[in-house]
């Protein structure tokens, strides 16, 4: 069973930023990476991925440049910027706080 990535609003942006911390990736690479890292649970749709990437570009959190792939095709690679890194850590800490809070509620109930 796969879960649509727009389950929790805002999480997709965070996931994309996170996958980019290791190396610059193209859109397909990002989708693939999220899928494999989540062990096939999260399946990012093209329809959400590309608008999200445009959003991140507009905010200046990622940078895009055209590069050759291993198969010698042209692809647009996205790189995390410094402000993107800051944004990621901000979102991560917020997310952790939320998880903890949700956890408490669930335990208590």
């Amino acid at each position: 069973m796969t879960i649509k990535s727009d389950l929790m609003p805002g999480t997709l942006d965070m996931l994309i930023l996170k996958t980019l911390t290791r190396a610059p990736l193209h859109g397909y690479g990002i989708a693939l990476s999220i899928k494999s890292l989540s062990r096939d649970v999260l399946n990012v749709e093209e329809g959400s991925l590309y608008p999200a990437l445009q959003r991140l570009l507009l905010q200046g959190w990622v940078r895009a440049e055209w590069k050759k792939t291993e198969t010698n095709r042209r692809a647009r690679y996205y790189t995390l910027t410094t402000s993107g890194r800051k944004q990621l850590s901000k979102e991560l800490s917020q997310f952790e706080q939320m998880i903890v809070a949700i956890g408490r509620v669930l335990q208590d109930a």
Binding site: E46, G47, P51, Q54, L57, L58, A75, R76
Partner: protein
């Protein structure tokens, strides 16, 4: 900071939109190919892998659209919609032009009429704090707002506690020394504080001082702006100059503002103070002034009225001879200025509003037809990824574009129409309705135009949008867009057509009733023969003609001089002309009957011996006056039929004696009875009227009525010239043919203009309604082409096809006419005050309108019915 960056980024992308699209396309197809590859690696065939990928990703266009939305500005898609709308509208120019013209028509009518209503009824009067200003009058049995006498006014002014100021004014004809002798001037006499109570300051010079209206004060005058410009060339040195008015030198002390108007006292070029000296000014029973007052803070009109009533009551007790039956009346000044015109303006506004309703409904149904024919397009666009919201936005944009174009065209033509309408109004009527100078595109008119545009936009966007969301619309692609969908549309479209037809009926009925009123009004028996009758007013200066014998000598001279003009058959003299007003009244009693001081008030006319013969009035009994009946002879009078009916219902009036309220009474013997002459406006009822010999009540102002065998218009200049030949100091003015006097009289003018305007609305409404019906029937026929083909293939006769279509149209027309007739009787009942001797349920009008509408509707449906009947069954069936 962040938002600035985002804005700059958006701007950067906007400037390279094409590159953005290309890159996005490339990026996404790369993604897709990789995915296909991935699936192929898992063992799917190339075809299956591509199919699966496509399925997973969904609509490519809509995906790109989403990304574009992220980086685009909000107005970009709006701009896109706008451009698309223009393209769509250009593609169907006939539809677009029809819709815009129809819309502009409705808007033009309602905006221009609203501008008149605004100027007349809504716009505050151009005085300081106008809502606190009131008109103050006396009241008598005959007239609810009658004039004040000067002594009464002075008492009212002294005793009242309701007003901070109570002033009076009087319209006053004045004699000027013109280049070719005496000429009449337009002036007003006012009390000293008149301009202060209105809060109007002269633009040049000064206002009247307190006490400047007393006889002892030097005579001064304020000029109207127009008089200053026209008579004095707008020169500043006009102050201190002297002008001779009525033979007295007046010093010009100031000039009034250009925009200043005070309709009840106008037209007036010279504003002078009262300087009470005439017999009438000093007599408590001579009523010739109107009051205007400013309410004290916290005093309501009702409490002011009750105070003035008690003041009037007190005067009745104090001066029973002159004041018995004289009450008080206090009304808002707006009522005094525009009260008469309000119902007619509201009627016109309603008429224009109904026309606007028809116009918008007409365009709405056109839009519906179009949305219907665009079902397939919409379905395709939906399938290609356009979201419902985006599709609706498209319709909204198209509606807005139509409304905007219609509104601009409507406003422009309304502006032009206002100019035209104000130019069509006779000048002297404009003088009496000065607010018409202000008709124009005021902020309120703009707001009104905005409001109706908004309503129209709402209607236009809602109708197709609602249709878009109906379930069968979604099936538009699959189905051949026929059958059930056509039926639903027909139902909605039919309702709209019924609405249009019913509205058209209302307008037609109202126009018919007004037209019939006008017809009746112009044919009302006025008791005289107006054709070949010319009239002229004559005013001779007081200095040389104020004595009785002087006035009589002048009258005789004028009559003999005019009688010698070529073509003249008879010359008559009267103190007032017919079809003018019931004013100039007198009090009398019947001698030999008990009398307790009550005031029997009737209009009195002082006429020459030949007057009735000259105007063609019919003497029913008795005799006319003799030229020799002067004051020294026994006093005589002729009464009209109304007089006989009211005061001698069971007696023979001939030989009876009347008297004015003098003591001792002076008997006036009734020597004749004349058929009722319409002395007042055409739409008024005849009042008991008393005619006495001019020579027993002479005056240096009188009117001549001349019967000629030639055209009366040609006689008018000769009449004025003849008067000046007698004495250049005498003014002869207001010369006209009697038929024109009647035709241009306020009652005739108002009836005529409202009948024409509403008639114009009604014809337009009929046209639009019939076109709307044609549209519905034609559409219905086009939708049922196949059905008709099948019917005919199965042996249906052409006549039964005709019957099929005409029955459908007949139902719509029948329902429309029925609803319309019911509503119009209700509407006519509301406006019965504007009708003249026509009942609101006037059967001939109602049946006539129903017939006109039925016939035009039949014609409108006959054309599509013919097309239906000429359907070739083979062709219709092959169309599948």
């Amino acid at each position: 900071m962040n938002s600035v960056l985002r804005f700059l980024n958006k701007l950067r992308i906007l400037s390279r939109r094409e590159r953005f699209d290309r890159e996005l396309q490339e990026e996404m197809s790369y993604h897709r190919e990789q995915k296909v590859q991935e699936l192929q690696d898992q063992g799917l065939t190339a075809e299956a892998a591509r199919y699966a990928t496509s399925r997973e990703f969904g609509n490519d266009t809509s995906l790109k659209e989403q990304s574009r939305d992220v980086v685009g500005f909000w107005f970009e898609s709006t701009l896109q919609d706008f451009r698309f709308s223009l393209r769509q509208l250009r593609k169907n120019l006939v539809f677009t032009c029809t819709a815009i013209v129809v819309l502009a028509l409705g808007m033009c009518a309602s905006i221009s009429i609203f501008a008149f209503v605004d100027a007349a009824l809504i716009k505050p009067l151009p005085y300081q704090n106008p809502s606190r200003l009131v008109g103050v009058y006396e009241t008598v049995a005959l007239f609810p707002h009658s004039n004040l006498s000067l002594p009464d006014y002075l008492d009212w002014k002294k005793t009242n506690k309701s007003f901070t100021a109570l002033e009076v004014y009087q319209h006053h004809g004045v004699m000027l020394n013109g280049p070719s002798g005496a000429e009449p001037g337009k002036s007003a006499r006012v009390s000293d504080g008149f301009f202060r109570v209105l809060g109007v300051l002269p633009i040049l010079g000064r206002d009247f001082y307190v006490g400047e209206d007393l006889l002892s004060a030097p005579r001064t005058v304020l000029l109207s702006y127009t008089a200053w410009q026209q008579r004095y060339g707008g020169r500043a040195d006009v102050l201190g100059q002297s002008v001779i008015l009525d033979g007295n030198a007046h010093i010009i002390i100031g000039v009034l503002p250009r925009q200043f108007h005070f309709v009840p006292a106008e037209p007036a070029e010279f504003w002078m103070t009262i300087h009470a000296s005439s017999e009438c000014d000093l007599r408590r029973s001579c009523h010739s002034f109107n009051g205007v007052a400013r309410l004290r803070d916290g005093i309501s009109i009702a409490s002011a009225l009750s105070e003035m009533e008690s003041v009037a009551q007190h005067l009745q007790q104090q001066y029973p001879d002159s004041n018995s039956g004289q009450g008080a009346s206090v009304i808002p000044l707006t009522e005094a200025i525009a009260g008469d015109i309000r119902p007619i303006f509201l009627l016109l506004l309603c008429g224009a509003g109904l026309l606007l309703v028809i116009a918008t409904v007409n365009v709405a149904s056109l839009l519906l037809v179009r949305s219907e024919s665009r079902r397939r397009e919409i379905a395709v666009r939906g399938a290609l990824g356009a979201s419902p919201a985006r599709l609706i936005r498209q319709f909204v944009t198209e509606g807005l574009v139509l409304v905007a174009a219609g509104a601009i065209l409507g406003l422009a033509s309304a502006y032009w129409t206002m100019q035209l309408l104000t130019r069509l109004i006779p000048a002297d009527l404009i003088d009496r309705m000065a607010f018409l100078h202000n008709v124009g595109l005021s902020p309120r008119v703009w707001a009104f135009a905005g409001a109706i545009s908004l309503l129209a936009s709402l209607l236009f966007t809602l109708t197709p949008a609602l249709r878009l969301f109906s379930p069968e619309m979604r099936e538009g692609l699959a189905e051949g867009s026929r059958g059930s969908a056509g039926n639903t549309w027909r139902r909605l479209g039919s309702k709209l057509v019924v609405l249009e037809l019913a509205t058209a009926v209302i307008l037609l009925v109202v126009a018919g009733l007004l037209g019939k009123s006008l017809y009746r009004l112009l044919r009302v028996d006025i008791g005289l023969q107006p054709d070949h009758l010319a009239v002229l007013q004559v005013a001779a200066p007081n200095a040389t003609y104020s004595k009785d014998e002087q006035a009589i000598a002048l009258e005789r001279l004028v009559v003999s001089k005019v009688a010698s003009l070529p073509g003249v058959k008879a010359v008559g003299i009267s103190s007032d002309l017919p079809v003018n007003g019931w004013g100039d009244t007198t009090w009398f009693r019947v001698l030999g009957r008990p009398w307790h001081g009550e005031h029997n008030e009737v209009p009195e006319r002082d006429i020459s011996a030949d007057y009735f013969a000259a105007i063609g009035a019919k003497l029913l009994r008795g005799r006319s006056f003799n030229e020799s009946e002067e004051k020294s002879k026994p006093h005589v009078a002729i009464i009209n039929q109304a007089f006989e009916k009211e005061y001698f219902p069971n007696e023979d009036p001939m030989g009876q004696q009347l008297s004015y309220l003098t003591s001792p009474p002076v008997p006036i013997e009734i020597v004749g009875i004349v058929q009722d002459i319409k002395e007042g406006q055409l739409d008024t009822k005849n009042l008991p009227t008393l005619y006495v010999p001019f020579n027993q009540s002479p005056n240096n102002y009188f009117n001549i009525a001349v019967r000629t065998s030639q055209t009366e218009q040609a006689l008018v200049p000769a009449l004025a010239a003849a008067i000046h030949q007698i004495d250049p100091g005498i003014a002869g003015f207001g010369g006209a043919a009697m038929t024109d006097v009647i035709g241009d009289s306020p009652s005739a003018y108002i009836h005529r203009s409202s009948a024409w305007l509403v008639g114009g609305f009604a014809v337009t409404a009929l046209l639009l309604g019939v076109v709307g019906l044609y549209g519905v029937v034609a559409y219905s026929v086009s939708q049922r082409n196949r059905e008709i083909g099948v019917r005919m293939a199965l042996g249906a006769q052409r006549s039964s096809v005709y019957r099929l279509i005409l029955t459908e149209a007949g139902w719509l027309v029948g329902i429309g006419i029925t609803i319309g007739l019911i509503c119009s009787v209700a509407a006519a009942t509301l406006m019965r005050g504007l009708l003249f001797s026509v009942r609101s349920w006037d059967l001939p009008t109602l049946t006539g309108v129903a017939a006109i509408l039925a016939v035009s509707a039949l014609l409108a449906s006959y054309v599509p019915a013919r097309r239906a009947a000429s359907v070739d069954p083979v062709e219709a069936l092959r169309m599948e």
